[in-house]
């Protein structure tokens, strides 16, 4: 099948009104907020060198924070703030999605606007300022009738830069729950759907270019004092915003939102859950690509209704437990703990997605390594690779302590590339995931953890507090419980990592239901 006729293009196109609309809305809101804050600040600080220096310094520092980190920071910040306002004023707001994205992006837009406004205002000919005073203008009249109009072309250039930055960076707001063109990119990267990645990148680039050109038209119109060009540019921007608002108005609001974290298995499972809800006549949609720490809070605060997590993850991350309990005991205690927060643990899906030390089967057999304990004597000459969080997780500390394990070198890798790296011998061992389909594909073997250093990671279905009494929801999802074994999940994950039309999360979820559902 050629790239041009790939049906995933039309699937991607189907998401466009939603993703593009959200992208434009969050970008416009962020830019508007950024302008509303930076313009007055720049004007106030134009004759105050100390304030000006401080502002520009601060904005520059913000600029050096990577976009993803800045967005991620705002989520816990707003969460704390929401808790505070709820406690003090009884007013609560959602710290999920739109708000943190807008705030972080607005902060990001400030530097070019501040810098260009200050430059533009200080570039006004002193002779002209004198004339403004001489003809009898008040300082405010001088600002609005002379200084701002003269600085406008330079300010507009700054606004253009800010707009392009915001539109580009908005693709990173997907993990904090804001739908954007980044949804294509995050989903595509995780499920190796390069059509989606390409589509997302092109869409974001085209949007940035169009907005940049429209703003350039306005800038040009202002510079050459051509009302026509200014008006045309303004009209174009207005039309763009209006076009993205239309689908938002007509959009049917799905009642149930299924969350998913940022990896392929989660995309498949969220699609499966949503399909089961729809099959039961419950309107449902997915909100995929959510950060691991964001998703639990989103469930607790009701921004999503249901998602699949893993017992060991919650144990360590949410409840900060470092002790390791047998599987059933851990599940039981987790259920009680979750219930205290009004979160229902509906049940287990039937498989575990645990961390495991993995190496090529052939090499393991040659060296006579079957368990982690067998690895101990060899480890000092070996290298290990793990995902971005593994080496800072309690599991790794537990494994090192329990077995006295120490490697020559450790590397962090994108999870999708780890398996190929260990298969090719680039690293000796990886900390993989037991349910990963690539284990079978590359003929790898999971080393046994006979001292139980790694906690159990049962896949469990969690329900939001507001769905506590929702029997229809529970009935629709119960048929999945206990049905998905590790072999089925591995195969589903392997399918999802394929790079063709049958590997979309929806298609794999349907295949999985065919396999386990009856």
């Amino acid at each position: 099948m050629s790239l041009a006729t790939d049906p995933r293009w039309s699937e991607a196109l189907g998401h466009l009104p939603d993703y593009l609309g959200n992208h434009v809305r969050v970008s416009v809101a962020a830019l508007a907020l950024g302008l509303a804050v930076s313009l007055p600040l720049a004007i106030i600080s134009r004759n105050r060198p100390v304030l000006r220096g401080a502002l520009l310094g601060l904005a520059s520092i913000v600029q050096t924070v990577p976009g993803l980190a800045l967005l991620a920071l705002f989520y816990p910040l707003l969460l704390a703030l929401a808790a505070l306002t709820a406690a003090w004023f009884g007013v609560s707001f959602s710290a999920f999605g739109f708000l943190p994205a807008v705030l972080a992006l607005a902060l990001y837009s400030m530097l070019p606007v501040l810098r260009n406004t200050i430059t533009g205002l200080s570039g006004v000919d002193p002779g002209v300022l004198e004339a403004a005073q001489g003809v009898g203008m008040t300082p405010r009249q001088s600002l609005t009738m002379v200084e701002l109009p003269l600085a406008l072309p330079v300010m507009m250039a700054g606004i253009r830069t800010a707009a392009v930055w915001v539109i580009g960076t908005a693709t990173l707001s997907t993990p904090i729950g804001q739908t954007s063109l980044g949804n294509y990119i995050f989903a595509g990267l995780q499920t190796q759907n390069w059509v989606f990645v390409l589509f997302g990148c092109i869409a974001a680039a085209v949007l940035a270019l169009v907005v940049d050109q429209l703003l350039a038209l306005i800038e040009n119109g202002l510079r050459s004092r051509s009302r026509l060009r200014t008006a045309l540019g303004g009209l174009g921007i207005a039309a763009l915003i209006a076009a993205t608002l239309v689908p938002a108005l007509g959009r049917s609001h799905a009642r149930y939102v299924v969350g998913a974290k940022t990896f392929a298995e989660q995309y498949v499972l969220s699609a499966l859950l949503a399909q089961r809800l729809q099959a039961a006549g419950l309107p449902a949609t997915t909100r995929a690509g959510l950060g691991s720490s964001v998703i639990y809070e989103a469930l607790a605060s009701g921004d999503i209704d249901v998602y699949v997590d893993y017992s060991g993850t919650l144990w360590a991350n949410q409840f900060h437990r470092t002790d390791i309990r047998p599987r059933a005991e851990l599940l039981g205690e987790l259920k009680t703990r979750l219930a205290q927060q009004n979160i229902d643990l509906l049940g287990e899906l039937g498989f575990e997605n645990a961390y495991a030390l993995v190496m090529p089967r052939k090499r393991a057999e040659e060296l006579g390594i079957h368990t982690i304990a067998d690895l101990v004597s060899r480890a000092p000459t070996m290298s290990i690779a793990g995902d971005y969080e593994f080496f800072s997780r309690p599991e790794w500390a537990g494994v090192q302590k329990t077995y006295g394990l120490s490697f020559r070198a450790q590397r962090q890798m994108q999870p999708d590339f780890m398996y190929a790296a260990v298969a090719s011998g680039e690293v000796d061992v990886i900390a993989g995931y037991t349910s990963d389909g690539l284990i079978a594909k590359y003929d790898l073997v999971v080393l046994e953890d006979n001292k139980h250093a790694i906690p159990p990671y049962d896949a469990i279905v969690l329900l939001s507090p507001k769905r506590h009494d929702d029997e229809a929801l529970k009935t629709a999802l119960r048929p999945l419980l206990g049905k998905i074994d590790i072999a089925a999940m591995r195969e589903a994950n392997l399918r999802a990592s394929g790079n063709d039309a049958s590997s979309s999360p929806d298609a794999v979820a349907r295949w999985l239901w065919e396999k386990v559902g009856r």
Binding site: G127, V128, G136, T138, P149, L150, R225
Partner: protein, 262 residues
């Protein structure tokens, strides 16, 4: 010669940099209604500072300045500036406003009606001898230096002031344009009954245009009088300033004998 001075400086002083630089030092000066006074001096003589004290673009440290009999320190500086015309060195036009927009600015600040402003703009374009239809909508960068300065003069006159202050208005122009503009302004001054103070570093220009000439040096008023009174001055600096116009007049008189003109 003046019974009711329209502009009066009394023992006015102004210094900058915490008193280190004395720009204007104990100057007293009265300008009668209808009078055209030129202030001549080199750069740093304090002549521009003295001019700006009158409409409070700069605030005086000492002394008293009265405009139409009122102490300026008791007036709102914004309203004061709107009733005094001011012509800037190289026009000082607002580059983003059309000729009409520039001329009509003070009336606009004073809240005149649109139609009233438009009519006044056309009237002023006629007065400064610029074609209404041709120049009304042009931007300053589309004008020659002389045309810009004509617009500058029209702007100063827009709100019908009794007083006009001019800061080296013709300094940056070529000699021909400068001469024509000077003559035209002199006519306007007389016909409109204006009271004018003009700053210049060019003694010839001062002598040709003004009723009286004030000479300033290092912040002090050295001499004040009609051209004839000045020529009787014993001050060395005043003599030095008068030497150039005198020599020019003699040489031109010799080079261009009156009866040889065609």
């Amino acid at each position: 010669m003046s019974i009711t001075p329209l502009i009066a400086y009394a023992h006015v002083g102004k210094s900058f940099d915490g008193g280190r630089v004395v720009a204007v030092d104990d100057v007293s000066l009265a300008v009668a209604e209808g009078e055209f006074l030129a202030i001549v001096g080199g750069s740093g003589s304090g002549k521009t500072t003295l001019l700006r004290l009158a409409n409070r673009l700069i605030e005086a440290d000492r002394g008293r300045i009265a405009i139409e009999g009122e102490d300026v320190s008791r007036l709102d500086p914004i309203l004061l500036r709107r009733r005094i015309g001011y012509v800037f060195q190289s026009g000082g036009l607002f580059p983003h406003l059309s000729v009409a927009g520039n001329i009509g600015i003070t009336p606009r600040l004073l809240g005149w009606q649109q139609a009233e402003i438009a009519a006044r703009v056309d009237e002023l374009l006629d007065l400064v001898r610029l074609d209404r239809a041709l120049y009304r909508d042009r931007l300053p960068h589309e004008l020659s230096g002389g045309q810009r300065q004509r617009v500058g003069v029209a702007r100063a006159l827009a709100a019908k002031p009794r007083i006009v202050l001019m800061d080296e208005p013709f300094g940056a122009l070529d000699p021909l344009t400068r001469d024509a503009l000077g003559d035209d302004y002199r006519t306007l001054h007389r016909e409109l009954g204006l009271t004018t103070i003009m700053i210049t570093h060019d003694m010839t220009e001062a002598l040709l245009l003004a009723d009286r000439v004030a000479v300033m040096r290092t912040g002090r008023l050295l001499a004040l009088g009609t051209p004839a009174e000045l020529s009787a001055s014993t001050d060395d600096y005043v003599g030095e300033l008068l030497r150039t116009p005198r020599r020019q007049a003699e040489r031109l008189g010799a080079l261009l004998p009156r009866d040889s003109a065609a």
